[in-house]
C-alpha cells in the first residue's frame, strides 16, 4: 500500500480535491489491499474499478468499507447470515447513498456477527474475522469486519452499526476510533433491523477527524425513516486543543466493576491526561447502569424476535424444505438458515414477550431503561461527559468465550447503558495493555459519552484528548497498517 496507506481520510480527500492525488490511483490501491484480505474481514469487495470517475464532495474519491448489514443494490447483502446467502437487494440504504452523494464509494462489504448479534464476530455464518494485532484473537463485534479492515490496512474507513456496543467495542479491540451517534442522527432505512429502538449507524476510522468527516456526510433526516431527525447545525472537523472548562464524570460504580488490570491502568492514565489538558474529573453515579445488561438482553431479543420473523423463505434469501407443506418449509428454512446465537435470541425474545411473562420481562426492562436514561440526565446536570473503559478487557482469544453466552454478553457492560439511553458515545484508543495471563500488549479503548445530539462537543473533546494521548506514537510500528503484528 505504501505511502498512500499512511494518509488519513481527511488528508487523502484534501489531496484528491487539490488535484495532487489521482482518485483512481487511490481507489485502486485500496482495492488491491482489500483483495489481499487475510483477516476474513470482507464478505465481498469490488473487483472492477476501471469505470472509476472522480466524484466531487467532501469525501470525493474515498473508498469506504460497509458492514454487510446495509443493503446495497445489486451486490450481495447477507448480514452475516446463511439465510440471506445470495440475496441482492433491489435498493441501497440511505446511509450508503449519503456517503455516495458526498463522493465516497463502496470498497466492499464487511463480515459481521449474524444479524449483528455478538461481541466477537464468531457468530458469522462465514467464519470469524481475525484481529489484525494478533490473529489468534477476536476483533470484537458485531462490526468486527469493519474494525479489522480499518485497523488492518484493508480500508481507509468504514461504517458499522451499534445496538449495544457493536461499533465501540470492536473499535476498542482493534485500536481505532468508533462512534455511535445519538439514536435518530442517521437514517436506518436499508439497514437490516436487529433491535429497532437501539440500532444506529456510525463510523469506524483511524482518527477522530475522520469520524467527524464521515458523520457529517451520514447524518440527516430521511423521509424513509420517520425516527431519523439528523443533527441540528451539522458536523464540522474538530479543532479543540485543550479540555479547559470541561468536566468528565467517572461513574462511582466503576471502582467495583470487574476490569482487567491493564485496562484499568490505561483508563487511570487517561484521566490524568484529561487533567493535564485542563479538564476536570468528577465522580458521578449511574446506579441503574448495572442492570443495563439484563434490560438489554430482554429488549434487544424481544425486538429481534419480531424483526427476524420476515426470514421465512418466501420473499428473499434461501428456501429449504417444502416437500411437505408451507409450515414445514418455514421451519426447515429457519432451522437451517439461522445460527445458534440468532436462534437463542429469537427464543429469549419470544419468551419475554409471551403472555403472562410480558410485564415481568419486557415491561420491567423498559422501566429499567427509563431509569438508566434518568441516571445520565442527572449526571449531565453536573458534568459535560461520562467516561468509562469501552471494554473490560483487551481482545480475547478466538473460542475463549463461545461456550458461555452470558460471559460474552457481559463484555458489553460499559457500552449497553448508552445504547439504552440513546446517547452518543465514542471509543478512542487510549494505549496498549497486556492481556490477563500475559502476552503482547494490545489496544485499549476509552469511552466518552455525551448528552443526546451533542456530537460536535463530543468530537471536539475526543479530538483534544486524542492529540494528548498520542496513541499513534505509542503504537508506532506495531500498528498493523504500519506492518506491525500479524498485519
Amino acid at each position: 500500500m505504501g505511502e498512500l496507506g499512511q494518509l488519513s481520510v481527511a488528508e487523502a480527500a484534501a489531496r484528491i480535491a487539490a488535484g495532487e492525488l489521482s482518485a483512481a490511483e487511490y481507489f485502486e490501491a485500496w482495492q488491491a489491499a482489500a483483495a489481499g484480505d487475510e483477516l476474513n474481514a470482507y464478505l465481498w469487495s469490488v473487483e472492477n474499478a476501471a469505470d472509476y470517475e472522480v466524484e466531487q464532495g467532501p469525501l470525493g474519491g474515498i473508498p469506504v468499507a460497509v458492514k454487510d448489514i446495509f443493503c446495497t443494490e445489486g451486490t450481495p447483502t447477507t448480514a452475516g447470515s446463511r439465510i440471506l446467502e445470495g440475496y441482492e437487494p433491489p435498493y441501497t440504504a440511505t446511509a450508503v447513498r449519503r456517503l455516495d452523494a458526498a463522493g465516497a464509494r463502496v470498497l466492499g462489504k464487511t463480515n459481521m456477527d449474524e444479524f449483528a448479534m455478538g461481541s466477537s464476530n464468531e457468530n458469522s455464518a462465514y467464519g470469524p474475522v481475525l484481529n489484525p494485532w494478533d490473529r489468534g484473537r477476536v476483533p470484537g463485534g458485531s462490526s468486527g469486519g469493519s474494525a479489522a479492515a480499518v485497523a488492518g490496512g484493508l480500508a481507509p474507513c468504514a461504517i458499522g452499526t451499534d445496538t449495544g456496543g457493536s461499533i465501540r467495542q470492536p473499535a476498542a479491540l482493534c485500536g481505532i476510533v468508533g462512534l455511535k451517534p445519538t439514536y435518530g442522527s442517521i437514517s436506518r432505512y436499508g439497514m437490516i433491523a436487529f433491535a429497532s429502538s437501539l440500532d444506529q449507524c456510525g463510523p469506524l476510522t483511524r482518527d477522530v477527524t475522520d469520524a467527524a468527516l464521515l458523520l457529517a456526510a451520514l447524518q440527516g433526516r430521511d423521509p424513509c425513516d420517520s425516527t431519523s431527525v439528523g443533527i441540528e447545525g451539522g458536523i464540522v472537523a474538530p479543532s479543540r486543543e485543550d479540555l479547559k472548562g470541561l468536566r468528565f464524570g467517572v461513574p462511582a460504580e466503576l471502582s467495583r466493576d470487574a476490569i482487567d488490570a491493564g485496562v484499568r491502568a490505561s483508563f487511570e492514565a487517561t484521566l490524568a491526561r484529561i487533567e493535564a489538558l485542563g479538564g476536570e474529573i468528577a465522580e458521578v453515579s449511574l446506579p441503574s447502569a448495572e442492570h443495563g445488561i439484563s434490560a438489554y438482553y430482554v429488549i434487544a431479543p424481544a425486538e429481534a424476535s419480531s424483526n427476524l420473523a420476515r426470514y421465512d423463505g418466501v420473499r428473499y434469501g434461501m428456501r429449504r424444505g417444502g416437500g411437505g407443506d408451507l409450515v414445514e418449509m418455514y421451519e426447515t428454512t429457519r432451522a437451517e438458515g439461522f445460527g445458534p446465537e440468532v436462534k437463542r435470541r429469537i427464543m429469549l425474545g419470544t419468551y419475554a414477550l409471551s403472555s403472562g411473562y410480558y410485564d415481568a420481562y419486557y415491561g420491567q426492562a423498559q422501566k429499567v431503561r427509563t431509569r438508566i436514561a434518568e441516571d445520565f440526565t442527572t449526571a449531565f446536570g453536573a458534568v459535560d461527559f461520562v467516561v468509562t473503559p469501552t471494554s473490560p478487557s483487551v481482545a480475547f482469544g478466538l473460542g475463549e468465550k463461545t461456550d458461555d453466552p452470558l460471559s460474552m454478553y457481559l463484555n458489553d457492560f460499559f457500552t449497553v447503558p448508552m445504547s439504552l439511553a440513546g446517547i452518543p458515545a465514542i471509543s478512542i484508543p487510549s494505549g496498549l495493555a497486556q492481556p490477563e495471563g500475559g502476552g503482547d500488549e494490545l489496544p485499549v479503548g476509552f469511552q466518552i459519552a455525551a448528552p443526546a445530539f451533542a456530537e460536535q462537543k463530543l468530537l471536539e473533546a475526543a479530538y483534544a484528548l486524542e492529540q494528548g494521548i498520542g496513541f499513534e506514537q505509542e503504537a508506532g510500528s506495531r500498528r498493523p497498517w504500519n506492518g506491525g503484528s500479524g498485519g
Binding site: 409450515v327 414445514e328 427464543m347 427509563t370 452470558l406
Partner: protein, 72 residues
C-alpha cells in the same frame, strides 16, 4: 441450549426484584410526534425488482408450497 437459556434468564431475572412501581416504560428514546406525509401517488417498486430475490416466483407473484400439501 436449555442450560444456556436458563443461565441467561437467571441473570435477567435480577431486574424482576427491582421496585419500579410508577416508573414510565421507555419504548423509544427520541421524543417524536407522529407525522403523516402528503397523500400523493408515487411510483412503486417494479414488480420484477421485488420478485428478483424471491426463491421461486411464478406468474408475477411469490410462490409458496401449499398449506395443505401434507393432507392432499
Amino acid at each position: 441450549m436449555t442450560g444456556e437459556l436458563s443461565g441467561i434468564l437467571e441473570h435477567v431475572d435480577r431486574i424482576g426484584n427491582l421496585d419500579l412501581e410508577g416508573v414510565e416504560p421507555t419504548s423509544h428514546v427520541v421524543e417524536l410526534e407522529n407525522v403523516l406525509r402528503p397523500d400523493e401517488p408515487r411510483p412503486s417498486w417494479p414488480r420484477e425488482a421485488v420478485l428478483a430475490p424471491a426463491p421461486e416466483p411464478v406468474d408475477g407473484a411469490f410462490r409458496v408450497p401449499s398449506p395443505q400439501a401434507a393432507e392432499s
